[in-house]
Every structure is written in C-alpha cells, then in structure tokens.
Amino acid sequence: MSATTRKRFLFPRWANYALPALIVMVLGGALYVPTVVTFGFSTYTTDVGYAPIQPIPYSHALHAGELGIDCRYCHSTVEKAGFAAIPSTQVCMNCHTNIRSTSEKLKPLMESWQTGKPIEWVKVHDLPDYAYFNHSAHVNAGVGCVSCHGRVDTMEVVYQAERLSMSWCIDCHRNPEKHLRPRDQVTNMKYQPEIREGETLEAAQLRVGRELKEKYRIHDEQYMIACSTCHR
C-alpha cells in the first residue's frame, strides 16, 4: 500500500438505526398488507349482504315466494330494456286497492297514490356509473335472475347476494355455460337442469349450458371480455 492510503469508508452513525427501522417496517408491512387485503375483500367493502331499510317493508319472500308472482309482473321491462323497472305505484295498486288497503305498512304507498309523488326506494344493486349493465341482454341470453340477485323469493328484505365486482362479472363472461338456462326458465328461482343418470348437477349444468351457448350464439370469450362490452 502506498502512503496515500485512501480513507476507509465508514457508515455514518445513524446507520446503526437502519436495521431496527427495517425490522419495524417488515413487521409493520406484514400486518399492513393482510389488513388491506382482508378489508378489500370483506363483505363490508364488496357490499355483499347490504340490505338497506326500504320505505315500505316489502317482502319478496311473500310476493315472489309464497304467492308466486312472476318477477316480470312488476319488473316488466326486464326483457326489453337495460333497466328492470321498479314498478310504479299503480302496479302495486292493481292488487292493493282491495287487499290490505288500510294496512299501516302500506301507508307510504297510499300516500304516493293520492299525492302522485313517487315512492323513493333505496337502490340495493348499485353498479359504478361507468359499467353499463343491460338486463335485456342477459335475460334474453338465458341468464337467470337468480344468478346475480340470489334467491330473492326467500328474502324478507332484499339484500345484495353477490359481489357484483368486475372479476365476478368476468368469471361468468368467460364461462357463461356455468350459468345459462333456457329462456323460459329465466325467472324460475328454483330451476335445475335436467340431470341424466350418473350425472352430477354441475355436469348437467355444463352440458345444458354448452348446448344453450351454441343455440343462443353466445359470443366467444374475446368478445365477452372486450372493454366496450360493458364500458362506454
């Protein structure tokens, strides 16, 4: 070594704290990441189970389940329009003019009928405004109500049954055969595909689904997951 020995590099004094700081960060991260992930996927975030209080305690379990009224009696535009219309007061009054017309629970309905002011229902299934879901496109393609809305015919209070997230939509857009049913069974809440001998329910659904996919000329996967299919 020469006389002009270079000065040796020394870590500054604060570097002594680097290791403890790193440990804190790693441990903190180990807590932080699972917290965020858990929270992100929790029902609180995805709104599964969201069941707001409605102005009238309308029971789908009674009307659709017990009484067996078809979905389309009230949600009449579901086959021809993007929105499955919330029924007008007049539709309710078709029956309730005579049935339980003095009930305390139906007071808001009677008020609406007399004043002409609409009943303000709280939206349960609320997609972001940039997702353009169209009911008629799905219903006509053999996607049952139950696939997205769950067993509404058993719900006293309507709640959100599915996640309604983009990945949830895409799952079905990739493999529609898992959910397709004949068009005339769309509103049937209890529909099951015909099970052949030795077939599981899943296999039966896949068989029927594939047939229907062909029959209804459901688009291929590339088309179904193209951005413009849902976003505008």
């Binding site: 029924p87 007008s88 939206k123 353009y132 496109a137 193209a226 299919t229």
Partner: protein
C-alpha cells in the same frame, strides 16, 4: 424538411401563415404533444421532492382505503302512474321545431326519462331530411339549443324594476299590472307597441291578428338583426309580390352565387347543403358534377366550397351581376366597368350558365342588394330555371326593412308616442342599429316589458322582465324556408315557469293561457287524429307557400362602385349567430369554419391590407365609418378581398351570462361588439371606412395550428424509410375532369411520388386472428361485425354541425379560451381546414389572393394497428373484437403517452374537471375540487347534469378520451338486434346496415359521413370504402385505419397548371 406543409400539384396545403413559413411556434406545436407545458412551470418543488411526496401519498391512500367504501346511497323513484309506452332508461324521440330568424328548423328531440338531451333533424320534414328521409339533420345552432335549455344563467323569475329596486314578482302580478296599464292608458291599443322577433309561425300570426282585432291601434314592429330584407325587396321589385327564392340545388348543374352563403348561414342551410352535396356526388355515378361560381366580398363557407371564386369589394357586386345579366342577353343592363379578371370570370360563368340552360341557377345572398336579387330573378327567368332549379314563393307581406322599422319605432318612443312597449324575445338594446340608440329611447317609455330566456341587455333596460319558455318547453309551430309547417311540442315542463310568445299574447287578449289550444286553433286541426298525426310527425305536408308566377318588374338602377379605401362587410357569426347564442360554450368554443377563431370575433382582412396597415394577427385597429368608431383586433383571413374588412356580429355581449360575458359578475364580454359600428346607413356593408392601426394587441386564439398532423412523422422517419414516403398522405384531391377521363381511377389522387401503402407490417399480435368474413372485409378485428367509417371530402362543406353533435352526444366539456390557448380543447371531432395556394416561394404562397380550401373532419380513425395502444402502460386503450379502439376511462391513469404517440392527433386529455369548473370561472388552479372520489358530481351544476347523455361516462380530471365511433349507440343497436333475434323477430343477430348512426353522421347535412359493418358486402360503408376515391390518411405509417376518406373532387373551369418542378425538401 418533412413536416413542411404538404405539396401537391404545384399547390401547397397549409393551415396558417406560421404553418406555411414553418415558424418556430409551429415547430413547437408539431414536435411537442403538449406545447406550452413545462413541468417546471407548474411544479413549485424539485422533481425528487415531488416524487417523495407522491410516494408518501400513495402509501397513505392505501392506509385510508379511500377506494374501499360504498358510494353514496342512491334512491330509485319509479313513476306513480304507469305510462303506457315509456320505459325507464330508454330514449324517446319527439318531433318539434326551433325558430331562428323567423324560419323554423324541424327537429326531433331525444329524451331520456323526460329530459331532452340531444337534438336531431326531423326526417319527415323536407327541410331537414337526409338519406332520402331515413335520417334528419340539424345544424350546429339547433344542436346547441339543448345546452340553452339547461343553461344555469337562464332567467328564473319575473322581475319588476318599476320600483326603486328590482323585485321578484309573479306572472299574475305582471299580467295584472300590464293589462291594467293598457286598459287605463292605451284605449284600443293606441300608444301600445309590440316589438317582436321575426316569426312566421301560424300560431303567432293568429294571436297577432286576434290581438290587433282586440286592440286595433297597437303597433306591431318586427326586428331581426340578421334578416332577408333585401331578398324580400328584390323579389317584390321583380315580381310585384313579396317572396323569396327556394332553391333546388340538386336540379342545378351550374350555380352562380352573389354574396350567397346558402351553405353557411341560411335558414334553409340543411336542405341546401344536402341538395348541393348530392349534385356534387353525381361525379361518382354520372358523367357530370355541378359547378359553383361564387362572387363575394367576404370569405364565406359557401365561397370556400366554390369551384371558382371571385373575391370583390361589396360595392362591385351589383356591377358584376349586371355584367352577367348583360352577357346573357338581358336587355337594359350594362356590362361595363369590369376589371379584366372580373370580365374573364363573368364570361366563364355566363358560358356555363348558357350551356346549362334550365339547369343553371343564379343565387343572391342576404348581403346582396335588392338590385342583385332582381338581376338574379331576371337571369333565372331567362335561363328558364324558375320552376326547376329555383321556385320563388310568396310569403306574407311585411315591412320591407327591419332596421328602418326599429328606427321608426325608436323615433316614436322618443317623441313620447309609445306609452307601453312589449318586447317579445330578441335583444334590441344590444343589436339594434347603432344610430337608433334604442336603449336610450327605451328609457323614456312609461311601461316596458321584455320576454326573454335570459336577463339580457334589453331586460335590464325594461321595467318588467318575464322569463320565456324555451322551445323545448312550449307548444308552438313554425314554417320552414319553403313554408311547410312544422309543429312543436313541449318535452319538459318549463324549468323556470317561463311563458311562450303565444301564451303572453293570449294573456293580453284576455284568453286562457293554453299553448296547445292556441296552436291547435291556429293550425285548424279540430280532428283528433289529424292533430295527433301532425304533432307526431312534426310536419303538415303540402303547406308550402304558393309559387309566384310571372312578373315583370322594373329594371333597377345599378349603383356605381365605391372608390373609398375600405369597405366594411357585416356578417352573422357562425358561432353565436346574431349574439343570442353567446352564452353557449359549445358554440363559443366551436372554431369558426375559416378563421378557426374561438371565443372571439375579429376584423378579418386580407394580407395585403394588413401589410399596408402594418398589423399582424391580434393587433388592434380602429375602424371609423359613418361617424362611429370601433377598436377591434385584426385577423388576416387569406381570400378576403383587398380593401374589405369583414366584421362578424354578435360578440361583445355585456350581459349574456357567465359564459358570454356578465358585467355584474366581472366576466368580460367574449369578443367585440360590432353592432356599435352597424347603423341603418350601413347595414350589410359600409363604404368609405377609415382604418388605422390602434394601440395595443389582443390575444386571439385560433385553433388553426392545433393538433397539426405531421405528414410523415419527422425527419427521423425520413432517415429510416427513405424519402419516397413523402407527403400527400393527408389530403388527396383531383379535378372532376381528370377523375372522369382516367376512367375513375384511384391513381389520379395520388401524389406524384406515391408508391402505395407500406408493407402490411403488424407491430403486435392481435387478440384473435379471426377468419376473414368475406373477401374485401378486414382480416382483423372483424367478429362478428367489423366497424368502419367513410368520410366524403367532396361532400363535406365544413359547417361544424358534426363537431357540436359529437359534443352533445358524448358529454364533452367546454374548456374556455385560456385552455384553448394551451392546445387543450376537448372536441373529439375537429375539422381541419387547409388553405391551398399556388406560387413558388413562401411569400408568393402567402400572398395568393384567392386560396382554395379543403375541409377534413378528423376524429379517431380506429387504427387496427394503433400506435396509442402500444404505449399505454395500463392497457386502458385496447381493441375490441369488432375493430373499435376502445378507451377505458376507468382504467386510464393519465400518462398521456397515447396522445403523444397518435399520428392523427385525436386524443384529448382532461387537465382539469372542466365540467365542474366551467369555461370562465378561473378555478382551474385548484388541484382538488373536493374529496377525491366525489369532486365532479358535487361541483357540476345540477341543471347541467340534466343535459348529460346517461349512456356515456362523464370523464373526470386526469383521464384521456377520444372518439369511439359512438360506442354507446353501437352497443344499444347490438343489444336490440340480438334481443329481437332471440325473441324470433329477426333472422340474424347481426345489426342491419343503417341501424347504427353515429352522432356526427346523423348531424351531417351533406351525408358526408357513413358508418357501418365492413363485413357486410352490401353495406354503404363497404361500398364507399371500395370507391376509387377512398384512401387512408397517413397510410404509409401502416396504422391501417378503419376510417377512410373519399378524396375531394373539384370542378374548376380550367384544369390547374401541371405541377411545377417540385423541390424535394
């Protein structure tokens, strides 16, 4: 250098002088995607510090989980009573009409859940039908009228100013007070005057007659700052009957226009543009093409579409019309006093007219003197084209001159003869002739009231103001230019309790105020079925005005040409019309078709005069005429005749609103008030004006240099692929003769050194290699449809209706002048205007007194091989399987790489929440309007919300956007087609040709845009793309655009000179 303006056939295409000269400012615009933007300008901190802070905020945003919570609770309010045909969320169309300048525009209004959101033309009415009655077209004024309906600046209350301070009142109070005053002070209407906008509406005329029957002494005055007085006078002089010319431009092979702007500002513009373009497109199928000669003193839209154009001073137009008449053998006129070039032009026009015979047509415009109208009538009569190419129809007689009428009224007001004045619409305090001084006269009237949409200049000078019902809120009717009745029905309850003209007149007559009953009575439709049909169709066929037959008027005296140094020419504005649309941001920001100026008007002058005065664009000049002076910035418009200054009226409104100018709120007027120079003595033009350079300059913002397409993509490209890939890739054109004689070959449009498109190189693997549907269809992205578009530049006249329609359909924001200056206008569809001049040197090219013009509508061309997609780091812009280059707003993070890489310059970035800030608020500097996830919705005026198209996402700050061929209309049609197929109502799930109409296509009066499925060999778009005129812009970049342009054809008298030896740069 390669990014020079492109050369073609010895002429050069350019967009501005700076572009022509290759000035440094244009270099900057070309070479930088975001000119005027430097990170150091906006950053108040060093880059590293910025990154540190951003990193920290990213971590924190994760902590607060701002994305993971339920968005605000939403309510659903169904109808109370079921309406049989209404389906929530499905659009409905209602026929209606809008009166502008007394003439109705028949329309279809599209409503979503009771909110009118978009205006289309009424295909059932001849004045707006296109595509053989399949579609209707509406001009840009009508398109923008829906914004007027929801303008937050509309007046909301009846205001009483008769007391010491203004107070809010009710319509009942007004009616009691006004009617009471009339009863007490104006027996039988004496001393009562009504000043009305022009109207030919049967119901208004009916109510007028009833009022005059009840109060016979009432004075009814009509005033309109832009009117067709001279035409009425001229036709009266020629035939003895008040009338006007109804053109049949598709029946004319040769059209000679004197000061006519029938393709620009004309009440029948939609119909005329349609007929004109049909006659031009005959070039494809028949061995002929029409030829348009234009003699004009300003550069109008019509002039820019002329095959032969002669720019002259206004005072020479009569001489030229007389010379043409004399050349065609009309007795009693002299053809002397012409310059040699004028003589040559007239001789050529006369030759063609003679050859065309009854298919020849002479048109005189609103700005031409009555004498010219008489001469036009005489020539048409001699050509025997009356009855075929033109019909003169008789209109209800009226006082001949609008300026004279209002001058006489003001005279009487000053003399105290008017005790009560009711002003129905209009804005005379702003737009009355300057020498009338209407505002002062108004101050002396005992009781004055103004019915108006806005609290405007006139309202503020009146004792009472009554909010007017918008045409979309009221029952009404009107007559189109040829007289065919159009009906109007309300689509929405008056938002602010406004009243229509007929309702106010009914109030004065003491009748019940019921618009529907009044219209029904006036139209004499007592039969329910007939009434319902009229309202449903929006038209009562067979009600056009009767034609005038015969008539031999006296030969007019031709006035000698002025020798003064400058003549002024007053024209209506393409954006704000006469000033009434000054508060509509869509129109203020719509670039003028020729100057491309936004948010302003200017004194338009020739290069020669500008040089003589020593002024550049934006320099203030002082104009003095008839003792009145105005200071206004100058703007050089090539093609303006020397010695003429064109002044577009309607700007400079002091009390238009928060967009056009609001004195009270400290918002300066947009533009300059030209009415201060316009008097009864100088109505359409003024002679002997003095023009001097004034102190100062003014910032004029013209978009002519914005989004310039760089025709080969820089020097680097030249180095890479060699010089043969040169220019001529943007605009292609040829003369009709060359095209016809070549046997309609596509090579006549090719630039001299054209070597065909580059190899079919594919830069990336497409998602699926779909089998080719049929030969000729695209071999990529064609499943199950293959969307494509074609735009015919021979048909396009550059009117801009498409641009406004696009803005209305796609919720496109208005950004304001400050932002336009930074190249940040949001219009997805722009119309590129190229001047084309001859000459060797730049100097010669610049001084060409008569440039040709090319209009090229430019929006995203949906490249199959899209450069934007390659560079997006988050795949926010990707292809779907049908060829749409989709733009996923919710995925975009705003890097702007895509825009930087787009050779067509069609991507637009939201620098701010423009919908929320508004164009003139100056709130741009706020980084956040509110909490990040709620900003726009909370800030946008709820009234403006109502105009939004619910089918299209409203984009927020930091998001890129662009045209996607109206993907919402495509989706709606596809879903509809498949539903019908599945329900067994149609044989195929595919969309039929013509089922999808894009917003621009629907608005286009000339049918220049067509959209459809390229897989369908029978589709119109496929046929157009197979036309020999079809080409892809910048095809050498191998972007493989789905939009093709059809090359422009001109039909000049003489073939242009063979291209001079071109210097390759």
């Amino acid at each position: 250098m390669s990014h020079r303006p492109s050369n073609h056939g010895g002429r050069t295409y350019w967009q501005s002088f700076d572009h022509l000269e290759d000035a440094p400012s244009v270099q900057e615009l070309l070479s930088r995607e975001f000119p005027g933007y430097s990170p150091s300008d906006i950053a108040s901190m060093p880059r590293r510090r910025f990154l540190k802070l951003m990193g920290a905020s990213l971590a924190l945003s994760g902590l607060t989980l701002s994305g993971c919570r339920r968005w605000p609770r939403e309510q659903l309010a169904p109808y109370t009573y079921t309406s049989a045909e209404r389906i929530p969320g499905e659009p409905e169309f209602y026929a209606t009409c809008m009166e502008l300048g007394g003439v109705a525009k028949p329309l279809l209004a599209k409503a979503f859940d009771g909110r009118p959101i978009k205006i289309e033309g009424n295909p059932s009415h001849p004045a707006s039908a296109t595509w053989g009655g399949k579609l209707g077209s509406a001009d840009h004024y009508a398109q923008a009228s829906v914004l007027e309906l929801y303008d937050p600046d509309r007046s909301r209350f009846v205001i009483d100013r008769s007391g010491p301070s203004p107070r809010q009142a009710t319509f009942e109070e007004f009616s009691a007070s006004f009617a009471g005053f009339l009863k007490a002070n104006c027996p039988a209407g004496s001393g009562f005057a009504i000043l009305s906008e022009a109207s030919e509406s049967p119901s208004v005329l009916d109510m007028k007659n009833r009022l005059l029957a009840a109060m016979p002494q009432t004075r009814w005055v009509e005033y309109e700052p832009l009117s067709n007085d001279n035409e009425l006078l001229g036709v009266k002089q020629a035939t003895g009957k008040a009338g006007r010319a109804v053109l049949k431009l598709d029946q004319a092979d040769v059209v000679v226009s004197f000061e006519g702007d029938f393709l620009g500002i004309h009440p029948a513009q939609v119909q005329y543009a349609n007929e004109f373009s049909r006659a031009r497109r005959a070039a494809d199928t028949q061995g002929r093409m029409n030829r348009l000669f234009v003699i004009e003193s300003t550069f109008s839209l019509t002039g820019s579409n002329a095959d032969e154009r002669l720019p002259v001073r206004p005072s020479r137009v009569e001489l030229l019309a007389a010379a043409l008449a004399s050349e065609l053998g009309i007795p009693g006129v002299s053809g002397s006093g012409l310059e040699p070039s004028e003589k040559e032009f007239i001789a050529a026009a006369a030759h063609d007219l003679r050859a065309a015979g009854s298919r020849g047509l002479v048109v005189a415009g609103a700005g031409a003197s009555p004498t010219v109208h008489v001469l036009a009538y005489l020539i048409n009569s001699a050509l025997k084209s009356i009855g075929s190419a033109v019909t003169y129809v008789q209109v209800p007689d009226r006082p001949a001159s609008h300026p004279a009428a209002i001058a006489a009224l003001a005279q009487e007001m000053r003399a105290g003869g008017v005790k009560a004045l009711l002003i129905l619409g209009g804005n005379p305090a702003f737009d009355a002739p300057a020498d009338v001084d209407f505002s002062r006269a108004l101050g002396g009237v005992g009781l004055s009231a103004h019915l108006s949409l806005y609290m405007n200049e006139t309202s503020l000078a009146c004792k009472w103001h009554v909010p007017r019902a918008h045409y979309l809120e009221a029952w009404g009717d009107g007559r189109s230019w040829d007289g065919t009745i159009a009906t109007a029905q309300p689509l929405i309850e008056p938002l602010f309790g406004g009243k229509s003209v007929i309702e106010v007149l009914a109030m004065l007559c003491g009748e019940q105020i019921d618009g529907q009953a009044i219209v029904r009575r006036a139209l004499q439709l007592q039969d329910d079925a007939a009434w319902r049909k009229a309202i449903h169709d929006g038209v009562i066929p067979g009600t056009s005005y009767p034609p005038i037959s015969g008539g031999t008027g006296s030969m007019p005296q031709v006035a000698p040409a002025s020798t003064g140094k400058f003549e002024l020419r007053f024209v209506g504005s393409y954006s704000v019309y006469d000033g009434r649309f000054a508060n509509l941001g869509w129109l203020q920001e719509l670039p003028d078709p020729l100057t491309r100026l936004t948010w302003d008007n200017a004194a338009l002058l020739s290069k020669k005069d500008a040089d003589a005065l020593g002024v550049k664009n934006g320099d203030m000049i002082a104009i003095t005429a008839n003792g009145r002076t105005l200071e206004i910035p100058a703007f050089i418009l090539p093609g303006t005749p020397a010695g003429v200054i064109t002044l577009p009226v309607g700007f400079g409104r002091r009390n238009a609103g928060s967009v056009g100018g609001a004195e009270g709120a400290g918002i300066a007027p947009a533009g300059f008030d030209v009415y201060r120079l316009r008097g009864t003595d100088a109505w359409y033009f003024a002679q002997d004006a003095k023009v001097t350079r004034a102190a100062g300059t003014y910032k004029l913002i013209s978009t002519q240099d914005h989004h310039l397409i760089d025709d080969v993509g820089f020097k680097g490209r030249e180095v890479r692929v060699g010089e043969k890939f040169r220019s001529g890739r943007i605009v292609r054109e040829a003369t009709f003769r060359a095209y016809y004689e070549s046997g309609r070959q596509s090579n006549v449009f090719h630039p001299p050194d054209y070597h065909g498109p580059a190899s079919r190189l594919q830069l990336f693997t497409p998602p699926t290699d779909y089998p080719q549907a049929d030969p000729g269809a695209p071999d990529l992205f064609n499943h199950p449809h293959a969307w494509g578009m074609a735009i015919d530049m021979t048909a396009c006249i550059g009117c801009g209706a498409c641009a406004v329609a696009c803005q209305a359909e796609n919720n496109i924001a208005v950004v304001g002048k400050e932002m336009v200056e930074l190249n940040r206008e949001m219009n997805w569809l722009r119309i590129d205007r190229y001047f084309k001049t001859a000459g060797g040197s730049v100097e010669e090219k610049r001084n060409d007194p008569n440039p040709q013009v090319v209009f090229q509508p430019m929006m995203c061309v949906q490249c199959e091989n899209a450069p934007c997609e390659q560079v997006c780091p988050v795949a926010a812009t990707v292809h779907d399987t049908e060829g749409l280059n989709t733009m996923v707003y919710n995925r975009c993070i705003g890097t702007r790489y895509c825009s930087n890489n787009c050779p067509y310059k069609v991507r637009r970035f939201n620098y701010y929440d423009y919908h929320a800030t508004g164009p003139r608020s100056g709130r741009y500097r706020m980084p956040f309007l509110n909490w990040p996830d709620r900003q726009q919705k909370d800030q946008i005026d709820p009234l403006l919300w109502m105009q939004f198209n619910p089918e299209v996402t409203v984009r927020m700050r930091g998001v890129m956007e662009k045209c996607t061929y109206c993907t919402q209309r495509i989706a709606a049609a596809k879903i509809h087609a498949r539903n019908e197929w599945k329900q067994g109502k149609r044989p195929s799930p595919l969309v039929r040709d013509g089922e999808i109409v894009t917003a621009c296509q629907q608005a286009c009066p000339t049918e220049a845009i067509v959209f459809g499925n390229l897989n369908d060999s029978g589709s119109v778009v496929r046929k157009w793309q197979e036309n020999p005129r079809a080409y892809a812009v910048l095809d050498d970049l191998n972007t493989r655009p789905r939009t093709r342009y059809l090359a422009k054809l001109r039909n000049p008298v003489r073939e242009p000179q063979p291209p001079a030896e071109e210097k390759h740069h």
